[in-house]
Symmetry: C2
Subunit: 440 residues, 2 copies
Amino acid sequence: MTRQLHLNAFLMTVGHHEAAWRLPESDPFAHLDLQHYVRLARIAERGRLDSLFLADTPALWNSIGRRPSGGLEPTVLLTALATATEHIGLIATASTSYNEPYNLARRFASLDHISGGRAGWNVVTTAGPDAARNFNLDDQPAHRDRYERAAEFIEVSRKLWDSWEDDAALGDKANGVWGDDSKIHPAGHEGRYFRVAGALNVPRPPQGHPLLVQAGSSADGRELAARYADAVFTAQQTLADAQAFYADLKRRALAEGRDPDTIKILPGIVPAIGSTEAEALALEEELDRLIRPEYALRQLATTLRVDPADLHLDRELPDDLPAEDEIEAAKSRYTLIVELARRERLTVRQLIGRLGGGRGHRTFAGTPEQVADAIQHWFDNGAADGFNIMAPVLPAGLELFVEHVVPLLQRRGLFRTEYTTGTLREHYGLPRPAAVLAGA
Amino acid sequence: MTRQLHLNAFLMTVGHHEAAWRLPESDPFAHLDLQHYVRLARIAERGRLDSLFLADTPALWNSIGRRPSGGLEPTVLLTALATATEHIGLIATASTSYNEPYNLARRFASLDHISGGRAGWNVVTTAGPDAARNFNLDDQPAHRDRYERAAEFIEVSRKLWDSWEDDAALGDKANGVWGDDSKIHPAGHEGRYFRVAGALNVPRPPQGHPLLVQAGSSADGRELAARYADAVFTAQQTLADAQAFYADLKRRALAEGRDPDTIKILPGIVPAIGSTEAEALALEEELDRLIRPEYALRQLATTLRVDPADLHLDRELPDDLPAEDEIEAAKSRYTLIVELARRERLTVRQLIGRLGGGRGHRTFAGTPEQVADAIQHWFDNGAADGFNIMAPVLPAGLELFVEHVVPLLQRRGLFRTEYTTGTLREHYGLPRPAAVLAGA
């Protein structure tokens, strides 16, 4: 069988472009309305996409002026979407720094049961001090500490998911024995960050383990992905960078003793789709014109760790920016932004436009044919196993992608025309993991 | 208008009776099947009940042999049920000892948005060492500590729910200002148990605050209820005890400066319903006969803090049991069980039968007329504002209650015949709380 693409719909309020909410057709409160997400999920499912995905951080942005703010907690929202869909995978972001493994492993196991094996967890360590201050801390833990905790968090979660053998539940009415206690294996975990005694209070999930996604591209993030991730979401601006990232991650997975084909790499793409290239570019320009630069400038200054007064809209970035290893949060995104600005000699205003579309993800304006070509080009050239589709405007952009780009990819034999698999792992061509039993 | 009952459907697997799963009609795996709960929720809604409710503890019971074990996490499950219902309130238990306020306040706010104002939170401190050992501890914190933490947890949650003024979101497209930052009030909480800086990342819930339920009946539990609870679930075996509890709690609420009518007291009742009294008693006997006493004996010994070898099935409880103030978990339930056994001079086997039906809640076998009379008698005599309906077998017992008992209560003018209110608070006749704004 021909190698096929994996496509994930990254959903965000009324679109990834920060000004999408200002378009006449956008409902600025849609992100609080379940029916908006139901509609998006059904569009993605109509397109036979592998999965949909929600980002998250447990803190409110600095300003609610800029764009639709606050939202529904992802594990809860995806459970509602599980009841409105039948096939599509459901991936929620959740933080290892600000959760307890017992609670989170349990919610993902519950979502996996409710959805019939369609749950995925995007493992994040949550950068920045704002979240830390909501959880009894003064500032975020160091980058390395966050990633060590994340690795241990995943280890504990696996022990919990595996704490019931698949056939532990008997339902033996005649003898009055509901389950076989000998098939329960308490986690008995004692580590640096966590002590977790118990078996989980949910039977083993249909998928064994929910699909694990990782999206950090720093060295620590890649190492975590190479050890644990089934899929990686990544921001890559150029083919060369994407190829280097792809090769590096496959190599790291191999070094961890894994089949490199079991880690799927999905760069993001923000496609502005028009029936002509000119129409696509006009949409992108209209959106960029609606950005209020003062908000974006403030955020850019925070990301770059500079004083907002040192950034001038019509000049390039200052020369004296910190080196990546001085950055404690979103390290690789920092480097990507600085390199993008330097490579294309962008003014701050132009950089803000580019970031407003996809926050560092690759923006691409074109016809359906051009978008399909762009996707296939990276897919055929060792840069991607699939894509994270980040429509600039929702639902319109996802609808255009599903109705006009997906059929082209299907005609080229690059994408499924029907769902032929049941679980999210199966959609991604991944096996159900065997249980590692504590004490066995 | 005549004072009316509030009725809550307490759902549990295939029934509250521990042997319900052994009946021929029971699916022993129904508690992992969303459709089972959807069916129950729709039956309860057909009966115009105020709410449904799920208990919870973040640990697996000692043995999975006894009865259906493991289950779906309640906030996640209720979100799925929110999409399958339109009117009924949705109350989930969640622990203040093993959660962080930011995460939990956010999930309840999300559920309140998704359900259009139908979320309720049963605040528990979680007794017992098993849960503690899943959260980095060797044993549960002391009773008093757990309740102090619970009070602070609620205070933080309220600050978070109130951190957005109701009209903070503007959606002003013309000026490109989505929300008014001056209407965001960060919690700024610094307490003994929690430091939480931030504003919540969800706008204020439709109900202002989700309905707060409390179910602890110890002195600490009553005090917490008197300060914060909108509704109280309680286990009461006799009219006299229920009257004393009711009067005490209303008095305590008054002492806290509250209108006693704004705290609704709902004792549990486990109704075995038959078309004749003999048929109802036969159902109860059939269920009791299906109990395997060795499991129940072990749990009773744990509750009573005695060696299982000191309990003899055909004798009464030993004389030298600990006093309530030596008990650190489920204090009032301990006393209730000991008093029940002593008052009725029950053997251990008989006591196990009584507890197998409702774990200390009042069991009642009779015709629909007798059940309606029992409910009205307590309601008319200062013992209850409503009832927590704990069907011994599900869905059958809830169906019988809705089809045969509810119409009697309606005919007597004691219960609504249609939903005339929208939110859970409104169903319970409670106002939407005003926001207390940090820094205002």
